[in-house]
């Protein structure tokens, strides 16, 4: 759990972060979204004390983050950034091993952890261990950057626009990978992004910031349905908010008994995908499949009803 209590960072007269308080639960993904200059990166960097606050405190699992020297605190917190910051003079394995080496792990344990992480990120260990960063594609570098951040099994992972430099298709894949890994290790993740799309897709809760202030801290559904200010509403956008809302829940939520014809849809697919399929194929209802068996149907009317603003 990360408790941010009235944190402020002032540079001369400008308050980059202005009296922000919020509590991040363990095992949750919180996305911090805002335009550039909103103070989102400064807020993130105060958690691992790359930036020291002017006022306020941050508690991690109940302990003030100033109890430890900065470099020791940072070894216990994962850190991944835009541009990845891989060390160009070190191999992939050496890059991943950075924090375990700082912590003085044994050689064998480090090697095993490096191989485990490479496999986890779908990179063949024998093939990638000895490569240099410049021999990797952008997507591979990004994965090594996250693997390096996770190497010492941190409970908290801080990410600053980690997918910013990827093209849309690879970005989607990387986001899915991140969600998988978070589910597996229940790492607490704080992720800074400027895109509301990414914030909604990844965040269990979203913190919206503007000019150093926290405007709203709530679940994606709440933010889409009830934006706290005009600025938040503008960030969410009015064009496709109905579809964004649908994208948050699985088909299983609207499952009902009954028959339908045609190609079935998976129970785990999003409601948005189901509506798109129903509209495209002109069907009033779609059969729903779970683990290979038809378990019921979902109707177009119920999908449309769900897309309306929640009361």
């Amino acid at each position: 759990m990360i408790e941010i209590q009235g944190i402020t960072k002032a540079y001369d007269d400008v308050r980059a972060v202005d009296d922000v308080s919020l509590t991040i639960e363990s095992g949750e993904i919180v996305t911090v979204v805002g335009t550039s200059g909103s103070g989102k990166t400064t807020l993130l960097r105060m958690i691992n004390r790359l930036v020291e606050p002017t006022a306020g405190a941050i508690l991690i699992d109940g302990r003030d983050n100033r109890d430890l020297p900065g470099h020791e605190l940072r070894r216990a917190i994962g850190y991944a950034i835009q541009g990845y910051g891989l060390f160009p003079h070190r191999t992939v394995a050496e890059n991943i091993a950075t924090v375990p080496k700082l912590l003085g792990w044994e050689r064998k344990r480090i090697d095993a952890r490096v191989d485990e992480l490479l496999a986890l990120f779908h990179l063949e260990p024998d093939q990638f261990r000895a490569r240099m960063p410049h021999e990797l594609s952008g997507g591979q570098q990004q994965r090594i950057g996250v693997a390096r951040a996770l190497a010492a099994e941190p409970a908290v992972l801080l990410m600053d626009e980690p997918f910013g430099a990827l093209d849309p298709i690879i970005r989607g894949k990387a986001q899915d990978d991140l969600i998988d890994i978070q589910r597996r290790f229940s790492t607490t993740i704080v992720l800074v992004t400027h895109g509301m799309e990414e914030a909604i897709r990844l965040g269990d809760r979203i913190a919206v910031m503007d000019k150093g202030k926290l405007l709203q801290f709530a679940t994606p559904a709440e933010i889409i349905a009830h934006p706290a200010t005009d600025f938040v509403a503008e960030l969410v956008g009015s064009d496709d908010r109905a579809f964004r809302l649908l994208s948050l829940a699985p088909v299983a939520d609207l499952l009902e008994p009954g028959d339908a014809s045609g190609e079935p849809i998976d129970a785990a697919a999003s409601l948005k995908d189901a509506l798109a399929e129903a509209l495209w194929s002109g069907r009033a209802a779609l059969p729903v499949r779970r683990d290979g068996a038809i378990v019921g149907r979902v109707t177009r009317d119920s999908l449309i009803a769900r897309a309306g603003r929640p009361q």
Partner: protein
Amino acid sequence: MGRAQTAGTGLAVGMRTGTYTDAGRKRRSGLDRLGAVLVVIAAAGLVFQPFSLVRPNRIVAAKPVALLSALPPLEAGLVLAVVIAACAVLLFRTGPALRLGVSVLTLAVLAMAIGRAGVYLTPTANSYARVAPGGAFWMMAFAFSIVLADASARLRLTPLSRLGLLALIAGAVGLLLYSGAWDSLSILREYANRADVFWREARVHLLLAVGSLAAAALVGIPLGILCFRVRPLRAALLNSLNILQTIPSMALFGLLIAPLAWVGAHVPGASAIGIAGIGVAPAFVALFAYSLLPMVSNTVAGLESVPPQARDAARGMGMTARQRFFEVDMPLAFPVVLTGIRIVLVQNLGLAVLAGLIGGGGFGTFVFQGISQTATDLVLLGALPTVALAFAAAIVLDALVEIANPTPARSPEA
């Protein structure tokens, strides 16, 4: 054996790629532009310049001797045939491996021929006569050396094979010197007369060039780190060093005479370690001063070239300031710092010649003695080792810079 085999494979591969790219670009039968220019130079040398110069003694005017009369007829014909055949190969577009082989072979033949000419043209039991290489020899040596450099650049040799090629050439020259094949040449006559002095001055020359580099590195690298950290200092220091760099070298030697003479006379112990207005001290100080700017500015540039994200990640992962400096900043800045060392070493090897003017010793001693005695061979005895050292230093350090660089500028795909 091993080396010969590797070289053989390299040659075959090189020829194939050479043919391929040439065929891809243009028809193979075209003229090679650089080759044509160099062939014209070699041919002009051969026709209009003497192959050897013969003097009855070391300072009187020389009598020019053409290639065909400089050697016994059979050998002269052979040399001529080799040169003509080589020119024919260079004139047309041919693979770089072939050009490399041809230029090495021709240079070897020329080196042997000039030694033979020395023996052939020296009257028996005459220790005053001098036989020197003439314009034809120098122009051909120049032309084929350029072909050698161009071909090895086009072959894109790896740093290690470039070092191997250098070692091979140095070994061959050493062997020629050791075997006595050149002993009849005027430069080696001059050397034989002052072998002791030659090696002493060689040591002084290296001490001046390498010692001032070491001192400049010891002072310049920390100064560069300081400049990088303390931004206001950077402009001030780099600008002052820049002004220092613009002082002509002769003027700087002159300017140093008065203050160093004063230090030698007034500071206790200073004259005991050799500090005086003339001699080694001012030469050393001047070379040190010229070395400082490249060392400082390359250290700053190297540190600036470290990617900011790598620096941020290092800090974000919990490296201490010390760890970041030694494990991230310095290794990544090192290739650029090494480039600075290369610039300084090559520059100092050349500049150290001027030390001879102010009694500082080094190869310059021979150059300036030779000039004052109008003895060209003595000038060459100082100049040729200087040039050879500078060349070798450049090749060795270029290779080291490439080996040290983790991200080669030439990516394999490009």
